[in-house]
């Protein structure tokens, strides 16, 4: 079994309300000196097969479901 880690991040310039509001919440809880908080979504997909095959299928999963190209970039690492 291999694990494919998919990181879905917001494209540069796209507003990140979750990150911004988390930053605010952390400040309200008394944490100082934070410059920025960015939200990232990670999926770990456990599956069998050859590495190149896994990469191809996970790439397809990203296109079909895991990311929306309008706002998302994604990266895939197979471990």
């Amino acid at each position: 079994m291999a694990v494919a880690e998919v990181r879905v991040t917001l494209k540069k310039g796209v507003a990140d309300p979750e990150g911004r509001n988390t930053l605010k919440a952390l400040e309200l809880l008394g944490f100082e000196g934070i410059r920025e908080v960015r939200s990232v979504k990670v999926f770990e997909i456990e599956m069998g097969g050859r590495k190149t095959e896994i990469e191809r299928r996970v790439e397809e999963m990203c296109r079909k479901l895991l990311a929306n190209p309008v706002i998302h970039n994604y990266s895939i690492v197979v471990k």
Partner: protein
């Protein structure tokens, strides 16, 4: 076709939760709505009695809710399941001019499935827009005011006068309409030219609104869009929640008349009775 013969498919999967009130709006107006599980259309785990075909219906409705928990992204899982099993039927349904309505989560599904804004064909290969997390990063359940800016293309708003401000409430966490940053301006212009923008959020004076009257930070304060042909319509606010006057937030001040959402359902049934 007579309204009383119009069959309405109110489509649901796990996590859909506004189907009952959507169903009732059509029932009250004399149409024949039915709550249908997606598996009844795809033929999975169902008996022959329960099997349905999309072509049996004149109107398809995606009600609000949190389909499949909205865990990946609002509407994305429902949309992916639709595309993998029903895309041919759907494309045909839309090509025939039959109307499709998506409310709230339904709008998110239509966008994720590529059925809206559908600027490159009935069902675009990849999503052309996204309904992202509200600027406030919170779920926002609040009264919203909508102005009908459509010039006549959308078949769901023909009975709503252009200058009319409708009070149709919103309740969502992911309703911020966004387009790719580099082409957003061009797309907005194109949508306007195609007469695809239907509702915009306004304040009580009728001016384009920022937060909280626009609860999510949508581009150009857009609350609802239709396809270039006008028969696919999605909006974040909930017209089915204001079918009657007495579910308006301030109805005790103005108790008379219909609810502002009713005209959406009347418009589309009128379209069906005239055109299908």
């Amino acid at each position: 076709m007579k309204v009383s013969d119009a069959r309405v498919c109110v489509l649901r999967i796990e996590g859909t939760n506004c189907e009952e009130e959507s169903y009732r709006c059509f029932k009250r107006l004399g149409a024949k709505p039915e709550k249908v599980h997606l598996k009844q259309l795809t033929g999975t785990d169902v008996t022959s009695d329960e099997r349905r075909s999309l072509s049996d219906y004149q109107l398809l409705v995606f009600p609000g809710g949190f389909s499949a928990g909205d865990y990946v992204r609002a509407g994305a899982i429902f949309a992916a399941r639709l595309r993998s099993r029903l895309s041919k039927d759907l494309v045909e349904f839309v090509r025939e001019g039959k109307p499709v309505l998506g409310i709230c989560n339904g709008f998110q599904i239509l966008v994720e499935a590529g059925l809206l804004p559908a600027m490159s064909g009935v069902m675009s290969e990849a999503p052309e827009a996204v309904l992202g997390t509200n600027d406030s990063a919170r779920f926002e359940c609040r009264p919203t005011l909508l102005k009908n800016v459509n010039r006549g293309n959308c078949v769901f708003t023909s009975r709503i006068p252009g200058d009319r401000i409708c009070q149709i409430p919103s309740a969502h966490a992911e309703g911020k309409l966004m387009f790719p940053l580099d082409s957003a301006n061009r797309i907005i212009k194109e949508l306007e030219e195609n007469d695809q923008i239907v509702f915009k959020y306004v304040d009580p004076d009728g001016e384009l609104a920022g937060y909280p009257w626009c609860p999510n930070g949508s581009i150009a304060s857009i609350a609802g869009l239709c396809s270039p042909e006008g028969n696919v319509f999605g909006l974040m606010p909930h017209p089915e929640r204001v079918f009657f006057r007495y579910t308006h937030p301030d109805w005790t001040r103005h108790p008379d008349g219909n609810g502002d959402g009713r005209a959406v359902f009347e418009s589309v049934l009128e379209y069906i009775s005239k055109k299908i």
